[in-house]
């Protein structure tokens, strides 16, 4: 256990934000979860008791008949905002006094940094470079993430859970988002920040960063493993594999979605459903590709003269 190395990584000034973000995220997931379960309990109670549903004020926060439903912004909201601004300022001041912004040597194109890392919020994408070619990891994937986020309101046809925390009414939406945000985005950033060392190799926390370490890792392509030699057949084979993933994966997801989410299935138009399917399958393909790489040392599935996947 190399404590010094661990401390060096943890105390690197630019890594502090991601260290701060993980407990923050954990806290807010807890905060959201607590409210979601309280609301779910309320929903269950009200569903079981229609008479109560007609009279209840339908929030988990206390409310008495004499109370006003709305309060004045001045001062009730403004004082909260003012306090928040002061607290953020104090945090920022203390942080800025105690921790200096990083400044390395002057830029030198002849002296490559090893590891050369992007800012922490892009390390998830940089980590993807291990598993995908740059055009996918660096261009297509960010574009798909942005578009995928933008289409969410237009493909989520579930009218429930608007304006309150809930889990039971939106299981599919919330678990998908948690998967994308926490598992794919944040934990990939975590790996890129704390695990990846020189040569972008995997170093467990506390393992010394050995700049001369060599890893004998033979990654092969799936067509080569299966003994396909001609370029034409490699291309056709890959298209079948990737296309097969989307067809078979689509059928599986469709089967599950129909059964466990029948109302949304009924509500969604063909366009909404196919967009949802496409983004969902692409998102799920990421961890699958990572597993294929880590477990079977397979680099590419689909090889063409122009691009490889």
């Amino acid at each position: 256990m190399d404590w010094k190395q661990l401390w060096q990584i943890l105390s690197a000034a630019d890594n502090v934000p991601i260290i701060a973000m993980i407990p923050l995220l954990a806290f807010y997931i807890y905060l959201a979860g607590r409210q979601a379960f309280a609301n779910d309990k309320l929903i269950a109670d009200l569903s079981a008791n229609p008479a109560l549903a007609k009279t209840h004020h339908r929030r988990t926060w206390p409310f008495r008949p004499g109370w006003q439903k709305e309060v004045h912004v001045w001062p009730f909201l403004l004082r909260v905002e003012f306090l928040a601004a002061i607290i953020v300022t104090i945090i920022l001041m203390v942080w800025s006094i105690t921790l200096n912004a990083p400044l390395e040597e002057p830029a030198n194109p002849n002296l490559t940094m090893n590891p050369a890392k992007a800012p922490w919020y892009f390390l998830g994408l940089q980590e993807m470079l291990v598993y995908f070619d740059p055009w996918i990891a660096g261009v297509v994937m960010p574009t798909l993430i942005i578009i995928g986020l933008m289409v969410i309101p237009y493909i989520d046809t579930n009218p429930l859970g608007s304006g309150y925390y809930t889990w039971k009414q939106r299981k599919f939406a919330i678990s998908t988002f948690l998967f994308g945000f926490v598992i794919l985005w944040v934990s990939m950033i975590f790996i890129g920040t704390f695990i990846r060392g020189p040569g972008w190799q995997w170093f467990w926390p506390g393992q010394t960063w050995d700049h001369n370490r060599l890893i004998y890792e033979v990654n092969r392509d799936l067509p080569d493993l299966l003994g396909i030699t001609s370029n034409l057949w490699k291309g056709i084979f890959g298209a079948i594999v990737v296309g097969g993933y989307f067809v078979i994966g689509g059928l599986i997801v469709n089967g599950l979605f129909r059964r466990y989410n029948p109302k949304d299935y009924k509500r969604m138009s063909l366009l909404q459903y196919s967009i949802m399917m496409t983004f969902f399958l692409i998102m799920v393909a990421l961890p699958i590709k990572i597993l294929i790489r880590l477990l079977f040392h397979i680099k590419y599935l689909w090889i063409t003269p122009w691009f490889n996947i």
Binding site: V71, V73, A84, P106, A107, L125, I152, Y164, K266
Partner: protein, 330 residues
């Protein structure tokens, strides 16, 4: 010349003919048009009268003035700035928000539970506040920074070691930027978990996604500016991906077939060259300080305006039961 002189002389001699009375004398004594008493006596009488009047008027006016100043909220200056009273009435509370340009983004009243921290987490407001802090510290940093290869790194050293509070300034800008990225992501997380993107707020969610991207780009363009190894290699790694853009990058799928070379592809456009150098520094500076902030401001205006127009903060709303959903007829 000699003619002019004689003319002047002529004028003087005419004055002497009037009994040696010059213009100045005329004004002093004989300007009363022949009325009796003389100007001097009249002026003294007038001054005396004024002084007498002042003796009574001045204390009266002073008293009046003190009375006015003792109620500063009644002065013209005050009422011209503040258009309404501030005693604690519901009307004035509402007007305090509605008649103030900086506060009028708020409604007069909000859902009583929306004030609780546990629902909104305050992350949107904190993001905006951090943008404000970043603008302030950023402008101050601009006073000390030249976006050129010769000076950039030295300016940062100068800031860190010689400029009063320069280190604090730079640190605050850096950490506020990182904090803003965290706050934006948590804001998006909260909006998702509360289903706040649902009807009628769909469009504002997409605006929010654009703002998220702009925040990341703002942070990323600033990364290069110290012109140190960290920024240089981060931006090199980042923009190398642009080489691989399909169709538009010279190493991307179908890029070469599309006529892309290192000197005309999308990466060249981003960097203003085929390597990260002086042009890249300048471009990054201009995007960071001018381009993206303006674009982001426009989207922020849109975002905040839509929050109000789409019905304000989404909740905490009343829970809806599954059995109460009315299915749209198809």
């Amino acid at each position: 010349m000699s003619r002019l002189l004689t003319r002047l002389k002529g004028k003087n001699s005419r004055a002497e003919e009037n009994g040696g009375v010059t213009m100045a004398d005329e004004n002093k004594g004989n300007g009363n048009n022949g009325k009796p008493g003389g100007l001097l006596t009249r002026v003294t009488a007038g001054v005396k009268e004024d002084v007498e009047a002042l003796k009574t008027d001045l204390p009266a006016k002073a008293k009046e003035q003190i009375e006015i100043l003792s109620k500063p909220t009644k002065t013209q200056l005050y009422t011209s700035i503040f258009r309404h009273k501030h005693d604690d009435t519901p009307r004035n509370r509402a007007l305090g928000v509605l008649s103030n340009v900086f506060l009028h983004l708020h409604p007069a009243k909000v859902n009583r539970d929306a004030v609780r921290y546990s629902y909104t987490w305050g992350m949107g407001g904190i993001t905006f506040y951090l943008f404000f802090v970043l603008t302030l510290t950023g402008v101050l940093l601009m006073f000390y920074y030249h976006p050129s290869k010769v000076q950039a790194f030295r300016d940062v050293l100068y800031l860190e070691h010689d400029v009063p509070y320069g280190k604090l300034l730079r640190n605050m800008h850096r950490w506020a930027a990182h904090l803003m990225v965290i706050a934006v992501e948590l804001h998006m997380f909260r909006v998702f978990l509360t289903g706040s993107y649902k009807k009628p707020r769909e469009f504002n969610w997409t605006v929010g996604v654009i703002l998220l991207v702009l925040t990341l780009l703002l942070s990323f363009t600033g990364y290069l500016l110290p012109d140190d190894q960290l920024g240089f290699w981060a931006v090199t790694v980042g923009t190398n991906m642009a080489r691989a853009t399909p169709l538009l990058g010279h190493e991307g799928p179908f890029g070469p077939q599309f006529g892309m070379t290192p000197y005309n592809d999308v990466r060249f456009g981003l960097l203003g060259g085929s390597i990260v150098d002086a042009n890249a520094l300048l471009r990054s500076y201009i995007w960071h300080c001018i381009g993206i902030p303006i674009i982001a401001s426009v989207f922020m205006i849109l975002h905040f305006w839509r929050v109000r127009k789409d019905g304000g903060i989404s909740g905490p709303a009343q829970v809806v039961l599954d059995s109460e959903v009315k299915e749209a007829k198809k």
